[in-house]
Assembly symmetry: D2
């Protein structure tokens, strides 16, 4: 299992947001969300995944996306936004190690707030022959709508989901070097190294014990983030229908 | 101090994302982000704020935005997206109570996953004469770039910021009924009831003790979310320049 | 009848598109289309209309939109795009005269390709008491799908529609100082001075004689572009149902 | 020279825009522009070109884009818009013949307003070995800013440019089976069969004689629309600098 991770960083963004004076917050929110959406479209159509993370820094799983495609993305954002992006890519067996390698490539070029350090494009990319499967887990909260959304006010629901996410992401990071991301609603997607079923059972148990939120999880494998993630979604559907907590290796949809 | 809060909820979104089978994750991410961006533009140009929260549920501070504008927003989203939204609005002295009132208006109409419950538009709106100032606090992490972004890998930086955010949001919610939202980078915006300076010092101290992250905060007041938030941004600039932890009631920029 | 027209011009756009070397055409198309869409959302929610025209120059009918809103639009585009816009507004009884007045305000400030002339905001705006109805005509081609789209190749269909549009727009401009815009499909929207029914019959006859395309038209009045245009759309529906060529003053939908 | 042309058609769009009653025009304009922008991004990143044409029907030059990519585009639009699209692709030596072939594939499946005919995906695609160069010409108006934009009102400038475009597009269509598209400002991009320099001189002369507008044109060749179009842009820059009317086969920029 080898994972290719790309760090997307908006160049010198913090200073830009307050120069010459603070910019309207809703314009910043719009800019960030649309820039993320454009990266998601670009990478998604190449079967990669990107996560919004802190918006000024985004983390992508880019198995199958080569350096030329990364260059095209960088050019296109530079042509259409008032800010530019740097892209650094790393490869490793564990997601955290791939990210670490990517991050070092960027940090060595200068600070995120160094106005002379723009549009870095640096990385190693998996060749076709190097490629192997990756594993993705898609978690959600058991009956989130019935237990929370339809009963609590939205902030308390959000707070509960965030606590569960925080507990899960720290556990998976510490224990396995996996990277888990909140993707809206009650959904968390984790990019994993090669993990057995009992690791996911343990993760679900950890969150239940830590913050009293019941999770379920579908796990998929595939040669790209989309393929693995799509299998995970199907496996999660099996959890929903069968009332199970963990389902592994759901078969990908025919023709997908 | 009276706050008008609007809950924006995508109708029956969960089931839609898996019907007839799971949709591509990056398409969902794009849809959610752009829908949020459109709401941010619509409300932002009316001096309101909206926060992405869980994306399928968003929380907005809408002082100054009337029922007709809410109806226009709902119609416009319905015309341009494959999903529709419901909008419920409440008014109270504390943000959490305004949200609670909004939420009840929606919950009484049916479940978030009831396919017959679409495009609810329900609310009470502040009249021109009722309006009074609101208070917004803009927090960020002291030297986040130097301490984290330029040193750690992005996931660990993100994890640290999220831990600080989680600590802060739960503290402000419990103690004051304030609603705090992560808005990207190392920024958190909190919509507050009428709080004195020492309350913000206590919040900063709480987070430092709880998760060992140093925050600073600018606090502003104004008749709209934008006006209060803009004053808060200016006050936060004062923290950055003067090395202080809390700055209150920064004067709005001339002409703003 | 008094019409307020705003000219939206991207500042120094031509040189930007080829500096330092030509930018990718599809990035330029994306930028232009999204910028237009953002202006359309902003103005549309204020019951105004904007037309894409040449994309680097757009023409808007902005009755009811004041100077403060124009300033907000300009700031928001400046915050989110790599280009900025200038806005000039004029008022007159005939659309062409209002546009002429707007254009002069901009031209007097310098050339569209003067890099020092950016973010001009200049105009006169109708006050609440000045406002009166405007008249909008919505034309389309009789049975365009059956006669053209389903039979010819798309380029020849497009060419036919463009010829009809060219004939109509030049006739209305010359004869009445009206401004007609192609808005997609087989639709043309004309912003008119106060014209009687026979003027529209004559326009339809002119196009039939000139380029052998049969048009039909609904005409509406209202205090804003949306209100007048919406009435025109309803009137055009009457043409479609009744087989008539011209329908005037369709009643606006209840509650609209 | 072999050209692959894709027709993009929004399914049953006309009826949708007036069901259950006419939708707000600015929402329709926004929807159309953003859908076009998304198609432009998707195809542009694969070195293809798409033109907005009538917005409900768009014409693309897709050499190098295979059937799987067309399927991904169709799925992604269907996931994110309230409308779906059909895609039909044809191949021929002359652009008009390739479009004709594409159009027939779609028309045979039913009417553009047949609500049962949705998401057609039909076409033949060039294989890697079949691929050969295509030729693209990029026209603009000599000193459009000085002669028109800075002097006339925008509508009369637009009318002049549209007349020149109409004259040019009809001439190139009739004479060579080329497809010319207005792309904003004073720019027209023509997708051509294999034409010699004198053909472009004749086109420029025709427009000068027909509507008294002076054009200049850069012509490029390449294995994709982007490559040919980029060479054409560079050639047009040579016209601007050297004052010539026609420049052929500009060398692509290093590294492009």
């Amino acid at each position: 299992m080898t994972i290719q991770v790309t760090l997307v960083q908006i160049d010198n963004y913090g200073p830009w947001t307050v120069t010459p004076e603070p910019r309207r917050e809703m314009d910043l929110q719009t800019l960030q969300s649309r820039l993320f959406a454009d990266v998601a479209q670009f990478l998604g159509h190449r079967d990669a995944y990107v996560f919004s993370t802190r918006f000024d820094n985004m983390i992508a799983v880019t198995n199958g996306v080569d350096g030329a495609a990364h260059a095209t993305l960088q050019e296109s954002i530079g042509n259409r936004y008032p800010v530019s992006i740097s892209l650094a890519t790393g490869v490793a067996a564990r997601p955290i190690d791939a990210l670490e390698a990517a991050n070092e490539r960027l940090q060595i070029e200068g600070s995120a707030q160094d106005e002379g350090r723009t549009e870095v494009l640096s990385g190693e990319y998996l060749s076709e022959t190097d490629r192997s499967d990756i594993q993705i887990a898609h978690f959600d909260v058991v009956d989130a709508t019935g237990k929370y959304t339809d009963r609590l006010n939205e902030f308390d629901t959000y707070s509960t989901i965030q606590a569960a996410y925080g507990s899960l992401m720290r556990y998976l990071r510490r224990k396995h070097g996996a990277l888990a991301f909140f993707v809206g609603g009650d959904n968390v997607i984790a990019v994993c190294p090669d993990l057995p079923e009992r690791a996911f059972n343990a993760a679900v148990d950890h969150v239940a014990a830590d913050v009293e939120v019941a999770l379920q999880v579908g796990v998929g494998r595939g040669s790209s983030a989309h393929e693995a993630g799509f299998a995970a979604k199907h496996a999660l559907e099996d959890c929903r229908h069968d009332g199970t907590s963990v389902e592994l290796f759901g078969a990908p949809a025919a023709g997908d």
